[in-house]
């Protein structure tokens, strides 16, 4: 839903990093993006191509590691995948408790750059 501002930030961060490391060309950007963000990879790349035009990141590929949304049961402490279809689970898979906490799926993280 908000690919554009997120990609603006990514381009900003990678160009700053590239400058520090005196890189000539960025070939790929490795990202970790949580499932809860609902970001569309196709649109992310599309905006990236647009915003990185005429920079050293032009043509770089976004390699996205989708991080699964997980829940932890506050009762039995077990962890499990949060989604069943398009909804998150209401009960713990192990003990049935309804006291669940989302523990992952919110990630917006730049791991590293592949550069020359």
């Amino acid at each position: 839903m908000h690919e554009l501002p997120v990609i603006e930030k990514i381009v900003d961060i990678i160009l700053t990093t590239a400058q520090k490391h005196q890189i000539n060309e960025i070939r790929a950007v490795n990202l970790e993006i949580g499932e809860l963000s609902h970001l569309e990879e196709e649109w992310m790349q599309h905006y990236f191509d647009y915003l990185s035009k005429d920079t050293i990141a032009q043509g770089a590929k976004l390699k996205i590691d989708k991080i699964q949304a997980k829940m932890r049961c506050s009762h039995c402490q077990n962890e499990f995948e949060a989604y069943s279809g398009s909804s998150v689970k209401k009960n713990c898979l192990f003990c049935g408790s309804t006291e669940l906490k989302l523990i992952s799926g919110n990630e917006y993280y730049i791991k590293n750059l592949e550069a020359i």
Partner: protein, 223 residues
């Protein structure tokens, strides 16, 4: 062929926003200005709830409004007609507000002069949940016609909200909406978050909400 090097970045894309939001919160605490972030889908009743809240609390608090709905100037005109200072943010089609937009809006409003500032965030259940705007409390409104399954479809929104308002309860009889089930679902994601059932149209349940808000502001100002 040149070798490809791996350059570590290890940076959270949202960290800058988070930091700015924390700074903003500190300044609001110093100035004793209670910032309430109101989030919902379009049409759930953000503007109506703001109007009703103003009517109930404007004798006690100096209230300011920051409008960010994509919809033109209509909303801020409605609020200004109540004699309340309102500013309209031009969000340029953005799907959410972030801390830097709020920083600017608070400066424009001269936030030090207010006890309560309500932000009408952009109508959307996904993005506003991810961008901390520096609010003292985050509230979300769901309206009965949207359905009781929303907490399970938009878990992030229901997890970050400190309080949930269920609006349009005058429609309950016309729908399959299960209030107990809805509260259960919120409680499973966000234990302890209060849920206020009300109708901005009939004003049923409205006082419970405004009393809660008043108490929050009083203890914030005293604390």
């Amino acid at each position: 062929m040149q070798d490809i090097k791996l350059i570590e970045v290890k940076q959270d894309i949202l960290s800058e926003n988070k930091e700015l939001a924390d700074n903003l919160r500190t300044r609001l605490q110093q100035e004793k200005t209670f910032l309430l972030n109101l989030m919902s889908s379009p049409g759930a009743g953000k503007t109506s709830l703001i109007q009703k809240t103003i009517e109930k609390l404007q004798q006690e608090f100096r209230i300011g409004i920051i409008e960010a709905d994509i919809d033109s100037m209509v909303d801020s005109e409605k609020i200004a007609s109540l004699g309340i200072t309102a500013i309209q943010l031009r969000t340029g089609g953005f799907c959410h507000l972030d801390a830097s937009m709020l920083n600017q809006a608070l400066e424009d409003l001269e936030f030090q002069d207010f006890d309560l500032i309500i932000v009408e965030n952009i109508g959307n259940l996904v993005c506003p949940a991810e961008f901390d705007i520096g609010a003292i409390k985050n509230a979300m409104i769901l309206s009965v016609p949207e359905g009781d399954d929303k907490p399970l479809k938009y878990p992030a929104m229901f997890s970050v909200s400190d309080v949930v308002v269920l609006n349009k309860i005058d429609y309950l009889q016309l729908t399959e909406f299960d209030t107990l089930e809805f509260k259960d679902r919120i409680n499973s994601l966000n234990a302890g978050a209060p849920v206020f059932e009300l109708s901005c149209r009939t004003e049923d349940g409205l006082t419970d909400w405004t009393t809660w808000l008043k108490n929050q502001i009083d203890s914030f100002i005293q604390g």
